[in-house]
């Protein structure tokens, strides 16, 4: 037996371990328990290694285009902001003017208008805008909200 074994060429034993590209021998890496494997998977999900796309390489022309777009956007936002601030200022001045006028006209009403409203809350019925309307756009029936 020994003699026969020794006659088999050495390279043949390494060939047997690979059948059509499928590894038949267990890998040398120690297998881990399922718990550990789960942790490894979760960590690999968080980690960016192997998940990063290639960095963007912008040509000079592309870079200028990108900067132009961003500049245009910031100018547009600035215009909007200015308009909004202007309107707010007008509204603020208008309130001041109205209150000053009310003070001259009727001091009693002025006092009531400036009284602090304790416990006043923002109404929960007021909805924030959404992208598409609900099936029922407006609620026409009103629950009696009398005190």
């Amino acid at each position: 037996m020994n003699t026969i074994n020794s006659k088999i060429p050495k390279f043949q034993s390494s060939i047997i371990q690979q059948i059509r590209g499928i590894r038949t021998k267990k890998s040398r890496v120690a297998t881990v328990s399922t718990g550990t494997q789960r942790v490894i998977t979760q960590l690999s999900v968080i980690s960016g290694r192997k998940k990063y796309p290639r960095l963007l390489k912008l040509s000079n022309e592309d870079r200028i285009r990108h900067e132009t777009i961003n500049k245009a956007w910031s100018l547009y936002q600035k215009d909007l902001r200015n308009e909004r601030n202007e309107q707010l200022e007008l509204q603020y001045n208008s309130i001041l003017n109205a209150l000053n006028d009310l003070k001259q006209v009727d001091i009693e009403l002025f006092k009531v208008a400036n009284k602090k409203e304790k416990g006043k809350r923002f109404p929960i019925d007021l909805r924030i805008p959404v992208d598409f309307p609900a099936n029922k756009v407006w609620h026409y029936e009103v629950k009696s909200n009398k005190k």
Binding site: S94, P123, V142
Partner: protein, 280 residues
């Protein structure tokens, strides 16, 4: 105790309140319906948001599918089958669009497109209800098509303001005379509006403070800084409509956006109240 005197105040020079009759003060109501859907995007906004989204997708990490689908499971197979899969690098092949750079089954040079597999169920199956395509409601309502200005369901992306038609003064914000019994501005405005349009309305008054004052001299609008005899003052109280509707019997009214208000009201009136109306 320190007594603070407003030495520079001009208010002390003015006539005392008792000289102004109550019927020369009115309360007006700026009733607002807030937008129900998000504002329409301008062409520029649309294009810019699209550009940003494409950039973001291009720079996004590879989707870790091994985390969401268990290896060898049916759902994993279904998912993998639905994906297009990138072109892989082969030796001795010329690639027109550059040599592929693939890690984790993703082409690193471009955005990753994930296709969610469509699951097929019978019509009768209870799962078919989950799987039906989502069709959003139209942002343009029936009231928009018929241009019904009395409807609260019109112009959903815009703020609407309630205007009524006065016989003498034309289109304006509703205003109400003060009475001795119901003297407070904010209460009078709310009560007057309910007298006109019925009780089935739910509103929220923003503040007791008036947002603006309009001054009339013999039915003609004058500057709000004007201070002469015989002025009729309208103090505007702001309020939101939350539910219900304004349904008066015999007066004409409309829910209008800022631009539409400009067309309806007189030029002086619009100039005096323009800043009260919302641009959105």
């Amino acid at each position: 105790m320190i007594v603070l005197k407003r030495c520079l105040s001009t208010a002390s020079n003015v006539k005392s309140s008792s000289q102004i009759p109550l019927n020369s003060i009115k309360s007006a109501l700026l009733l607002v319906r807030q937008p129900i859907v998000t504002p329409d995007l301008t062409k520029f906004e649309e294009v810019y948001y699209n550009y940003q989204e494409e950039l973001e997708r291009r720079l996004m990490w590879t989707f870790p599918q091994y985390y969401y689908f268990k290896k060898g499971s049916l759902s994993e197979r279904r998912f993998v089958k639905a994906q297009k899969g990138p072109v892989s690098k082969q030796p001795g092949v010329f690639f027109q669009k550059g040599i592929p750079d693939i890690v984790h089954n993703r082409e690193r040079r471009s955005k990753q497109e994930i296709i969610i597999p469509k699951e097929e169920y019978d019509e009768s199956s209870s799962m078919s209800d989950f799987n039906r395509p989502v069709v959003p409601n139209s942002r343009i309502t029936e009231a928009d098509k018929t241009n019904n200005v009395k409807s609260l369901e019109r112009k959903l992306p815009r703020t609407l303001h309630l205007l009524i038609k006065d016989e003498k003064l034309g289109w304006k914000l509703p205003s109400f005379e003060l009475s001795e019994k119901d003297k407070l501005l904010h209460r009078n405005a709310e009560a007057g509006m309910r007298n006109l349009g019925g009780e089935s309305i739910n509103t929220w008054t923003v503040s007791r403070k008036p947002t603006a004052v309009l001054k009339y001299l013999s039915n003609k609008l004058v500057d709000s800084k004007e201070n002469s005899e015989g002025l009729v003052r309208e103090f505007i109280i702001k309020s939101h409509i939350l539910s219900g509707e304004f349904s008066p019997k015999d007066i004409e009214y409309a829910w209008l956006t800022k631009e539409e208000i400009k067309d309806k009201v007189s030029k002086e009136y619009y100039e005096a109240t323009e800043f009260l109306f919302s641009r959105v």
